[in-house]
Symmetry: C2
Subunit: 361 residues, 2 copies
């Protein structure tokens, strides 16, 4: 708990002076001001995150956390629970989507067992098992408050280890059969939106299973009555071990001024937990894609984050984060590597013909 | 003209058998079917383009074509015309946005003078100047019909040269002060939409210049009366040399079963010309981003293309194409490199709980 408190206390605002210098440089680069849109905004935010007007992204690491969920007993998923450890093994063997996309983006992958139900002692998998799957949240809390805190601390430690080993950027990813159900419950708590908007088809369940899933979330919230003002309470009662671990990764990254790219629906639920514990941590979060899971858009709105990729993806694992990590790197390269008007001998804009509003970055 | 006819005749439909095999493999990869969304669709289309169920993207080349526009005399741009050759020099010196983003994506850049008003004999710039800038299209045709055909043929030849040298993927890019004005005119012709929807602020003009720009497009269409059923007529009367060249690049790529990633507003105007000359060429086009130039969305709808990146970009140069070229490569790697359920020993979906409709790729 001391570790968590210390981390939360270490998360500070972005460096506005570095951002001012980065913005001034962007306006001197050989392009109409603002014409690279989100790439420019990202580069300026990266300057604020790194407290460096010429931010760099070298080593990128995607942290994929796995956990199981007692709520699968309610028939909320199209896949059996044994798929969680099977996919963890697939990650370790580099056969999954995240392995291919991270390799393509030049990012490394770490796989963490946060709470897989089965034994998961696979070489290459980091062992942080807090519980052998959560309890069925429709019958009581998914985890104890102590377990929820342990998840957050484990995530912070993982982030700190990677940052100490040289990571300039972290990405989040998840694996856990049934985990769109707790993610939907978390979204419902923080947004106050109806279950029609917060609970979707996940990996692709039919209409009957979707009804069971909504009913499971409704009962979990009723029986547990989580306090939306207390992120740890929400995480414990209707969350999951991998969600708590990822929230810890986000907080750990923010505390060390490292950007963290948020993947899809599950990772964004973790981001909601992190933001509830530290609103300042949001400045360190970078959205990647919009999942076709309908609640994801709502989550990003709650977080105040703008996604870049519209790919109709809904795999999780960090696949969207891997693709977006390359865009963050590109944004920094634009700021650092493009020529200025003066360097290139290019004429600047005719201010009389310009529109002030369209020059906003 | 023979060259153009031959090229148009060489553009054939996608290979449906390769697509069937690619789709079958996608459904055996360790993920819920369809969960990688547009990446899966792209990989299947790439199989059809290359006539290969395991499509590969090795060498990627972004072709940036430059030209000037007589219509700048109407005050349609915020930048002076001298910026066109200055930016061409900047491309050749690797200082521009496209250089940075192409390098990041692992793509090469070719710079072509299709119709820059000034002399442009810069080392590294490919010389294909068809005219020293177009004529002012508000007073008559921008180019002669012969010049328009020469632009298309030059573009085809550039594409063929790159493909012969090993390019697996081409991307389009443009540079030309004032070129959103002809692009808007082309969009107006093919979409029939009003000037309020087709003419925007380009690099960032103010309200008064926007009115001048709309009036210029209105007069150009009135005085020239292009035939929307004849793409060459539209290109000659209200197009531009770099737009014609890029349309040729697209046709040349399609004729050789090479995918071509379409950048923003100008490149999409070129794609509209290409599609009007060969509807089958659309299958070889891959959309990259949605520009904040308002007419761009309309262009992509006309072309039937789905963009992947929403970055609020409006630079042109091929910057969106460079970023998206990396996504096309990623899509092919997913198809070729991910493990199947059988290979990884992962259990498949419980069909009883599944929704048929959500499994659609």
């Amino acid at each position: 708990m001391e570790k968590l408190k210390y981390t939360l206390g270490s998360i500070t605002p972005l460096d506005t002076e570095a951002m001012r210098l980065a913005r001034a440089r962007q306006d001197q680069l050989t392009k109409p001001p603002g014409s690279l849109g989100i790439l420019e905004e990202l580069s300026i935010r990266m300057a604020g995150i790194q407290a460096n007007p010429l931010p760099q992204v070298g080593k990128k690491v995607i942290i994929v956390m796995a956990g199981d969920h007692g709520v699968v007993a309610e028939g909320v998923s199209a896949y059996p629970q044994e798929v969680t450890p099977q996919m963890v093994a697939n990650f370790a063997a580099s056969g999954a989507g995240i392995n291919v996309l991270a390799r393509h983006a030049g990012a490394e992958v770490r796989v963490v067992d946060m709470g897989v139900a089965a034994a998961c002692d696979i070489p290459g998998v980091i062992q942080k098992k807090i519980c052998p799957g959560t309890a069925n949240m429709t019958m009581g809390p998914a985890m104890s408050r102590e377990e929820a805190i342990d998840c957050l601390i484990a995530g912070i430690e993982i982030a700190e280890g990677e940052i100490a080993a040289g990571a300039d950027l972290l990405g989040t990813g998840d694996m856990g059969i049934g985990n769109t159900t707790p993610a939907s419950a978390i979204l419902t708590m923080f947004s106050g939106a109806s279950l029609e908007h917060t609970v979707g088809r996940g990996t692709g369940i039919g209409a009957a299973a979707l009804e069971q899933k909504r009913e499971a979330v409704r009962r979990a919230l009723e029986i547990n009555d989580p306090d939306p003002g207390d992120g740890i309470d929400v995480l414990a009662k209707v969350g999951g071990a991998e969600i708590g671990g990822l929230a810890g990764v986000i907080l750990g990254a923010a505390a060390h001024r490292v950007p963290v790219v948020i993947d899809g629906f599950i990772s964004s639920a973790a981001a909601l937990i992190a933001a509830s514990l530290s609103p300042a941590s949001r400045d360190y979060m970078i959205a990647s894609h919009v999942s076709i899971e309908p609640g994801h858009k709502l989550m990003l709105e709650e977080l105040g984050l703008k996604p870049m990729l519209f790919m109709n993806m809904r795999l999780g694992e960090g696949t969207g984060a891997a693709l977006a990590s390359s865009l963050v790197e590109a944004a920094c390269k634009v700021l650092c590597e493009m020529a200025t008007f003066a360097e290139a001998g290019v004429a600047e804009k005719d201010e009389e013909k310009s529109s002030a509003e369209s020059d906003q970055v």
